[in-house]
Structure formats: C-alpha cells, structure tokens
Amino acid sequence: MNHPNPLDLEQGLHFYEQMLKIRLFEEQVNQLYLTAKMPGLAHLYAGEEAIAVGVCETLRKNDYITSTHRGHGHCLAKGAAVDRMFAELLGKSAGYCRGKGGSMHIADPESGNLGANAIVGAGAGLATGAGLSIKLRASNQVAVAFFGEGAMGQGLVYEALNMASLWQLPVVYVCENNHYTEYTAFREVLAGELRDRPAAFQVPSKEVDGQDVRAVYNAVLPLVERARRGEGPAFLICDTYRYYGHHVGDINRAYYRPKQEEEHWRTARDPLQICAQWLRGEYAVPPALLDEIGQRVADEIRLGLEFAMQAPFPTPSELMEDIYA
C-alpha cells in the first residue's frame, strides 16, 4: 500500500509544483499575519501538502471536495487560483466568497470545492450528502471529505459513515492525522486505533504515509475509482504533521509539542523534499528544473498577493446581499 507505483515524469513535476504552491502560499499567509496585514487568523496546511495534492490529482474537476478550517491546501489542490484565495483571506470583493467567507469558508463550486468549514466534522456529513446526490442523479462523480483526526470525535462522522456504507455512496473520507487536535495530542482524546473506526461501519480503509505524495496518490486512486464505479465509500488515513501552530497565532507550542518532533518532521519527513528526492533520484530531474518551478510558483504567489492587496474591499451595499438566493 505504501509502495508507490511509478508515475510519469510530467505528473511528478506537477505534483511537486502543486505542493510547492501550497507551501509558499501558506508561508506567505503566515507573513501576512506576522506583519498584521491579514484580518483574523488562519490554520496553515504547510507540512500536509502531499495529502491534498495526492488526493485531488486523482479527482476530476466536477468531483466534489469538502474541506476544513485548515483548508487552503485543499482549495489550491482542487484548482483554486492563488490571487482570489489571497483576496478572500484579505476580505476583498475579488475573493472567492466576495470577502464574506474568509480563510475558513473558501468555496469554489467551479472547481468542485463545496467549501471549507469552521465546524469540525461538518464537511464529512456534507460530502456524504454530495455522495447521495451523485447517486440519485446517477452521475459518475465522486465526493471527497477531508478532515483532521480530531473530527473523529464528532458523532456526526459515524452517522455519515453508516449511511454511506448502507447506501454505497461514492464518498472517500480522507482523514489527515497530524497527531494534534488544537493543543492536545490525539491519543489523549481517541480511544483505540483510527483504523478500526471505519471498519466498524464496513467502510474499507487504508493507511498511508501522508508525506509521500506518490504513496497518497496510489493509495487513494483505487478508492476513488471504486467509488466512481458505484462500489461504495472508502476511508483513507494519512499520517502527517503540521509545521506551524494550530493557527498562525499559536507560536509558543513547546508545552504541547516537542521542538525535536517538529524538527524531525520538517527535516526527515518533508513532503516537498521527499518528492524532490525521487524526482531527482528516480527521474533524474536536474536541480535547475526544480528551481525553475520554484521561481514560477514564487512569481504566482507574488502576483497573486499583489492582486489581492490592491483589490478593493467590499462596499457596504454588499453587506446584505447573498443572504437569500
């Protein structure tokens, strides 16, 4: 399961580029916070990029995802553009949600993104509903729910798993186990093993190294295709880590998470480095090519941010729009 199949080079480079885009985006978001240019907070996805990219690369544009408070990576991986993402984070009209949603609510139906969600676990229910919708419409889409291991505390998730299993809905549940739910180690709040949970509802599950984008891609692909064929839901558990705090303001975190542990994941388990390594090693990609990608992505981020910084705020007349359809 953790034994990646070969990908073609182009695909590998694309994975890398997508992950890098998320990484640089998140680092930029952190800067915006630290320089007091962004309203509110944000939960950074840095460190977990291989999951969003590995999963979304198996999906079609009209496949659905639901996302979480830590959602920027999912949005970008599913096809959102950097400039409108930044615009949303800055509360500008040009943002994906006209500035009304902000970091925790970015939605983009164009790319199949049904929205980030600030209620832990809620997206799992919504994605299950999307799955039911797909089945009733006899479409061949798939719905993917991303959520953290903390969401496994929510009973809603089990209710959803039960119904997805009963009705064989085309839903893939992707649990991003980054080992912490806010400021608490997940083992302190989760009895037993994650993997036993979906099994109890007869939802097949897999575990994968969430830092290796190839492994994620190869693990989830058969689950997605299975769902697409109408063979029912599946569950993917990804082992991963967030590089920053729970949110951008969570800076002194040694009291709940050892510095060495952070260091280990950043150096030995970095999804970008792991990907770069096999691109260089197995595909003989020259460093210059990766640099070129790096430059391209950096430009995209810079331009996107410029766009967003210059974009206008919504006018008061927009306030009472969009309450009712």
Binding site: C97, K100, L126, G129, L136, M163
Partner: protein, 333 residues
C-alpha cells in the same frame, strides 16, 4: 383562502402535505424525502403514506435514527443539485440538527459569496396537548426564526399547507416547515388545479375592526374560536396569520393594528423569548401612535410541557383564554 369555488375539494391538512410532496416530486426529479420511517410506514403519523409506492425507495429514503447525520446529508445533497425534504419527526429534535440548519444550510449561500445554495426543506412538527410530555411537545419555531438565511413556515390550513409547501420546495433557500401535529386532521377546501402561495405574505383569516389577533399555526383555530365568541359580545376581531415567521409580513400586521388599535399575538411556542416577542415588538413599534392598549402576548406557559392532561391543557392558549384577554384589552366587562 381560495379565490374561486369552481374546483375546490375538501381534504385534510395531512392530505394537503402529502399532495404537495407528490406533486413536487412528480414535477421535479431533484426532490426527494429522507427521514426515519418515511417509506413504507409513511412516517409514524402516516402523512407520507403511499409516496414510496409512487416514487420508490430511492426517493423516499428510510434513514437510521441519525438526525444530525441525515440533516447534514440533506444539506450536502442540496448544495449539489438536489432538493431534499428532510423529515424531522418531532420538532423537539431540532436540538439535534441546529448545526446543519443554522450553521450550514442557512449560511452557505452567504459564506460562499452567493456561489453555493441549499434549497432544502426541513419538515418538522410542533404542538402540545397530545400527552407526549416534555420532549415530544415543543413548538420551537423561535429557534430557526432567529437565524438569517432561513425561511420558516407555519401553515394553519390545508390550503395554506399545500401552497406553502410547494413554494418551500421550489425556494432556493433552506426552509423550515413546521406542522402542528393536531392540525393534520383539520379539513379545508383546496383547489383541484395546481397553485402555490408566496412565502412572506400574511393571510387575514377573519376581518374585524376592534382588535387584531395575530396567530400562528395551531393558534389560528384558537384565535378564530375566540373571535366567534367575541362577536357575540359585539367585539369584531381581525385574525391574521403571518403564515411565515421569516420572512415576516410586518406591514400587514402593523396596518391591522393601526386599524384596530389593539393587538394580541398568539403562538404555541414558549412565551419567553418566543415568536410572540418579535411580532409583538414589531407591532408595538410600527403601530405605536395608533395603539390604545399594550400589545399582549400569549405563548405557551414558560414550563416544560407536563404529561398529565390535568396540567398539560393549561399550558397552551385556548379560545377561552384568548377571548378573556381580548375582552379585557377591549375594556369590555
């Protein structure tokens, strides 16, 4: 009430709900029903009996006892092209599903800057005096009515129920549609031909000049009963049913109160922080300079609903208690 009598037939409120659902399901393949025991059983109240025969178990879906789960599934389905009708057996169970209703369905259109929408109907119930005790007797319309992004419908007659439910299903917004369990057996005239009723338009159930009785759902019949008694003592009550608490037809209510200069607001929810508070304060504000007496409120007594019939019947406004209040307010003796 229907404008014409050319093609009316008399049906129960239960039948009206059933027919509205059947017609909309026929008209629009995106409409489906999900809830506990909705299929073969047609709900414990039998309101949906037979729908599964026509539409099959794919569109009349028996769900596990998972209100939070299937409410959320409903919202997800609504966001992706379907038009679910989610059946929440007892209104008391709203406490289990308010996240899906108030945080998800109500907000997704706004939060997405207008890109997503959730055209979904949550059908549920209200009403005491059925000896079902504190957890199966509440009238919790005040909760969803508080949340922007939702519409809330409280039908009181078969005609209204059918026309409003069809509109609710066609509406692009989440609608909480609350039926009085004791009203299902009420009969009324309904056109043979198709019709819908707009959400947000109050209905004057009885014209009067001396006092305005604003009543919702189960309390409409009670108010009409009081109005008849009042007529006997020479007081002409105007009975107005807002039909939807959101949107609220403020103007019709205020105009009536200006005309009569007295008003009582009656609703079966708890009185404290209930629907009567909003409507009373809208009238007290809007008709301030026309009012000859304070706007009075009659909600359910502020107590959990007791089981014993000896107590339960005391908790809800009745034609008699409304009559008394109106008489006092009009200064009659």
């Amino acid at each position: 009430m229907p404008e014409t009598t050319s093609s009316l037939h008399e049906i129960t409120m239960s039948q009206a709900i059933h027919d509205a659902l059947a017609e909309e399901m026929r008209r629009d393949p995106r409409v489906f029903i999900i809830g506990e025991d909705v299929a073969e059983a047609g709900t414990p109240f039998k309101v949906l009996a037979g729908l599964v025969d026509e539409f099959g178990k794919q569109r009349v879906i028996d769900a596990p006892i998972s209100e939070p789960g299937f409410a959320s599934i409903g919202v997800g389905a609504a966001m992706t092209g379907m038009r679910p009708v989610v059946d929440i057996m007892f209104g008391d169970f709203l406490g289990l599903v308010m996240d899906s209703i108030a945080n998800q369905a109500a907000k997704v259109h706004y939060m997405s800057g207008g890109k997503l929408k959730a055209p979904i109907v949550f059908r549920t119930t209200l009403g005491a005096t059925r000896r079902a005790a504190a957890q199966h007797s509440q009238s919790l319309q005040a909760w969803p009515s508080h949340i922007p992004g939702l519409k809330v419908v409280l039908p009181a007659t078969p005609f209204d129920a059918k026309g409003l439910l069809k509109s609710a299903i066609r509406d692009d917004n989440p609608v909480v549609f609350i039926e009085d369990k004791l009203s299902w057996q009420i009969k009324g005239l309904v056109p043979e031909e198709e019709y819908t009723l707009p959400l947000g338009v109050a209905d004057i159930k009885r014209v009067g000049s001396d006092i305005t009785l604003v009543a919702t759902s189960s309390m409409v019949q009670a108010a009409l009963g009081a109005a008849e008694k009042l007529a006997v003592i020479g007081i002409q009550a105007e009975v107005i049913d807002p039909r939807t608490t959101v949107p609220l037809d403020r103007q019709t209510l205020i105009e009536s109160a200006k005309k009569t200069s007295r008003a009582i607001v009656i609703d079966e929810g708890y009185e404290q922080y209930g629907v009567t508070a909003e409507i009373a304060s809208v009238i007290a504000d809007g008709a301030f300079y026309w009012l000859d007496a304070p706007v009075k409120r009659m909600g359910a007594l502020n107590t959990p609903v007791p089981f014993s019939p000896a107590l339960e019947d005391l908790t809800v406004p009745t034609p008699a208690s409304i009559f008394e209040m109106a008489k006092t307010l009009c200064g009659a003796h």
